[in-house]
Amino acid sequence: MNKIERINDFVVRFANVNGSGSASANNLFAKAIFRLGIPVSPKNIFPSNIQGLPTWYEVRVSEHGYLGRRGGFDLVVAVNGQTLLQDYRELKPGGYFVYDSTRELSADFQRTDITAIGIPLTQLCNDAFQNPKLRQLLKNIIYVGSLAFLIDMDFALLTDAIERQFAKKPKLGEPNIKALEIGYAYAREHYPDACKLSVRKIDKLGDAILMDGNSACGLGAIYAGATVAGWYPITPSTSVVEAFEKYAHMFRTEKDTGRRKVAILQAEDELAALGIVIGASWNGARAFTATSGPGISLMSEFFGLAYFAEIPAVVVNVQRTGPSTGMPTRTQQADLISCAYASHGDTRHVLLFPCDPRECFEMTADAFDLAERLQTPVIVMSDLDLGMNDHVSPPLHWDDGRRYDRGKVLSAEDLDNLQEKWGRYLDVDGDGICSRTYPGTHPTKGAYFTRGTSHNEYSAYTEESPVYQANMERLLVKWQTARTLVPPPHCKIRDPESRIGAVFFGTTTHAAYEAISRFSRQGERKINSLRVRAFPFQDEVAEFIHRHETVFVIEQNRDSQLRTLLINECDIPPQKLQSILNFDGLPITADFITAKMQACFDRQGSSRPADIEGGNA
């Protein structure tokens, strides 16, 4: 048997039962890899359930810095009886099967191309600990201890992490350390040379952080000065507002009064959540909500109102699998069309596409500037993978010289100095953006009546066709202005002569870059790439596509939603755009993209890259 032999480059999968406390143990493992300076990418694959259903946690260790999912796994810690056989069968040939040997494996487990590593987890745990509640949690810690030995991990790294975690409750730390030792000692005694996967300290991370996107979005809203949040709980967006609240308590509590410089309201539904945001923004506060696809559907009417009445609104959409309630705890990038054109009538909304926690932070902060500058909704398009999983990311940074762009808002003094009659919907500057006033600004000037029905330049009700039409056309001028303000795409030209391009966004980025680099390393296939970061698309997007013969559009939905937007908005001939679509609810893998690209090249007559991995491809 050829054992898989790798240093700092493998995938570990943990197969657990939901609600058994495995998440913190698995997280401990991922964090330890991170602290070795090795790029790591943990993915929690969990069910819509609190307790009992299967859950997996996949940790990719990649010295080369590939942060997407690779596909397949080299070692599995299989401690869920429900999926034991499945986990066994899916393990790569040459891989390692770590299981609880308190019970013997049945006759179904007969693979000869893998290494089985039995650790009597239950027995070890029960022998060492009395408290039944603790037993369940510590059983997980025991396998982390064993794993540390198997992959040559510095044991002190784990004990340090435990001590840090329980700094305030050292009593709770003790049994955890004991459990680690038990697991480590057992593996050392029984499996001294079993595993050929190993980690080695290396500094590939610099000042990087390991953070979830939702915390970064919540923090972005804090830094951007959001003071009002209306929200309704929905997975996977809930932790955005929870993070916002946590940091608000930290940074927004008045010392003298104990009162908070924030208003966070859990609304009765998503309609009310966006209504609260619109009301607050109309009245001059920075306000936002976080939701997922079903919430966007419910908010649709309000999106139309905000677009037409021209009221800022920031929405973080942490996308999940649809349609309807779909797979609520699985990831997808499938709300592009529903968000880009949300609501009835002619509407278009600004979308931002972050790909890592730093962009979650920056784009959420930028969304407030954009929404107020453009007086329109701006939707930050995150997804479950980005929002709820920890990602290696460049550290967050804030420029202390930065001032909030509150857009065109007239003060009492501005109103007094006006020479012409003020009109709420009067485009004075020719950029399609008109000035607004907050309620209570001036005793006699600047009051207006906001309405979703058609209005003239002075905000008076009208049903005159030319007036309505002129207003709708002005909104298109504003849309053109938006194109100049949103973040530009990231373009990588690996070979100016190459006729092949790839376009993608958000969490598809990392796996796409890895697939592209596999072809590059082969030396004969340079694929240029463009990472879309916003909608509306800038000219660069269309130019990139036009300069290539074939452009892969890689995304995580069934209906080629980015491709549809590109065709619709950039006048691209559809046959030029080759879709690569992953919509199984799991983060897209580099193997999958590589195989799809290869299949396309094969049709065109070309050779295979050297290192396609198997797995989910």
Binding site: A208, I209, L210, L219, I222, A224, G225, T227, V228, G230, R259, R260, K261, V262, A263, I264, L265, A267, E268, D269, L271, A272, L274, G275, I276, V277, I278, G279, A280, S281, W282, N283, A285, A287, E301, F302, L305, L396, H397, W398, D400, R403, T437, Y438, P439, G440, T441, P443, T444, A447, Y448, F449, T450, R451, G452, T453, A460, Y461, E463, E464
Partner: protein, 350 residues
């Protein structure tokens, strides 16, 4: 379209203590049907604001969709107004109020807007005790779509369509009391004398003040067989009490014989002085208030007046412990923790 009023002012028009004339509280000319109850309700709001010497620009007018929701255009022309989405006035008003707790908020809605499409938002604004004057102009029908029954139409009531409403009706006042409103009143657009002080009391109240104003629809629901017609309401009306609203810092000149009145001190120090119609009607008792409404209903009477008040309850801002400063006045210095703090946060993620 909106029709502006001429700007002419009578030189000797009476001014209130803030220096405004009644005209300063008017809005555009109404485009509702002649004789619409909503126009009378609008006038009562104007009168209340004038008498209270409220600065018009310190009021924000919020509404949903429907005939009633159009009325903010016809009052307080110097105030910002927001005619939002059907049934969603409460959430928009909530957001607006969160942004600036110093303004006065008046939310105008109708029976379709409140009792059907917006029932959820109505309920939750009540629960949170949002500091809002919530006025529902209730005519038992959908006027703008030509007269369908609404959820407040009484069972058996027959409007212009000629078909008796087969469903039971929702009593918004009872519901409001149940759901935690802290000021609940019912008025009649045809009784300005009662309605004006009810609105004034609502302005003084800190929390959600709900006023159900029975406001007949002259076009679709003013038939002899309708229970929301002018005639029917006039014949069946029963006032809980007459009362005076005494704003803060105004000397109490009236003399009330002992035992004939109940005094309620509002949050801002204003006083509501009730002349008891009969014994046992304690308007600070929630249970008693609901019982009284039911008893009068059983007698075929429509009870109006101030039905329930709890001046001691906390409004939303106090419940969530938000700053006393308007959130929309805070700047970078108040809100942004800065890069040094961010670097510490980064360290926590390593």
């Amino acid at each position: 379209m909106s029709i502006d009023r001429p700007v002419f002012r009578h030189p000797q028009a009476a001014q209130n203590s803030a220096g405004y004339t009644r005209r300063d509280y008017e809005g555009a000319i109404s485009t509702l049907c002649a004789g619409c109850g909503h126009d009378s309700a609008t006038n009562a709001i104007i009168q209340a604001c004038f008498e209270l010497s409220i600065e018009p620009h310190r009021v924000a007018k919020m509404s949903g969709i429907g005939c009633s929701s159009k009325t903010p255009a016809y009052l307080l022309g110097r105030s910002h107004g927001f005619n939002s989405v059907h049934g969603r006035m409460p959430s928009v008003a909530t957001g607006a109020n969160m942004a600036n707790r110093e303004l006065l908020y008046i939310g105008i809605s109708g029976d379709g807007d409140t009792a059907s499409i917006g029932m959820g938002q109505f309920a939750h604004a009540l629960r949170r005790n949002l500091n809002l004057n919530y006025i529902c102009m209730n005519n038992g029908c959908y006027g703008l779509t030509k007269g369908q029954d609404s959820a407040t139409a009484d069972r058996g009531s027959v409007g212009k369509k000629g078909v008796a409403n087969p469903y039971s009706s929702i009593d918004l006042c009872e519901l409001a009391i149940e759901l935690g409103a802290s000021y609940v009143a019912r008025g009649f657009s045809g009784d300005k004398q009662q309605l004006v002080p009810l609105i004034k009391g609502a302005f003084a109240h800190s929390g959600l003040a709900f006023i159900d104003v029975i406001s007949p629809c002259v076009t679709f629901n003013n038939t002899a067989t309708s229970t929301k017609s002018y005639e029917y309401v006039r014949e069946h009306i029963e006032a809980t009490n007459t009362f005076d609203f005494i704003p803060l810092q105004q000397e109490i000149l009236a003399h009330y014989p002992e035992g004939t009145s109940q005094e309620v001190v509002m949050h801002d120090g204003s006083i509501i002085h009730l002349h008891k119609a009969e014994a046992g009607r304690d308007i600070t008792s929630r249970r008693r208030a609901v019982d009284t409404l039911e008893e009068e209903k059983a007698r075929g009477r429509l009870l109006t007046g101030l039905l329930y008040v709890n001046p001691d309850i906390m409004e939303t801002h106090d419940i969530i412990n938000s700053t006393l400063r308007p959130l929309n006045s805070l700047t970078e210095a108040d809100l942004c923790p800065g890069n040094t703090a961010l670097q510490q946060i980064n360290a926590g993620f390593r």
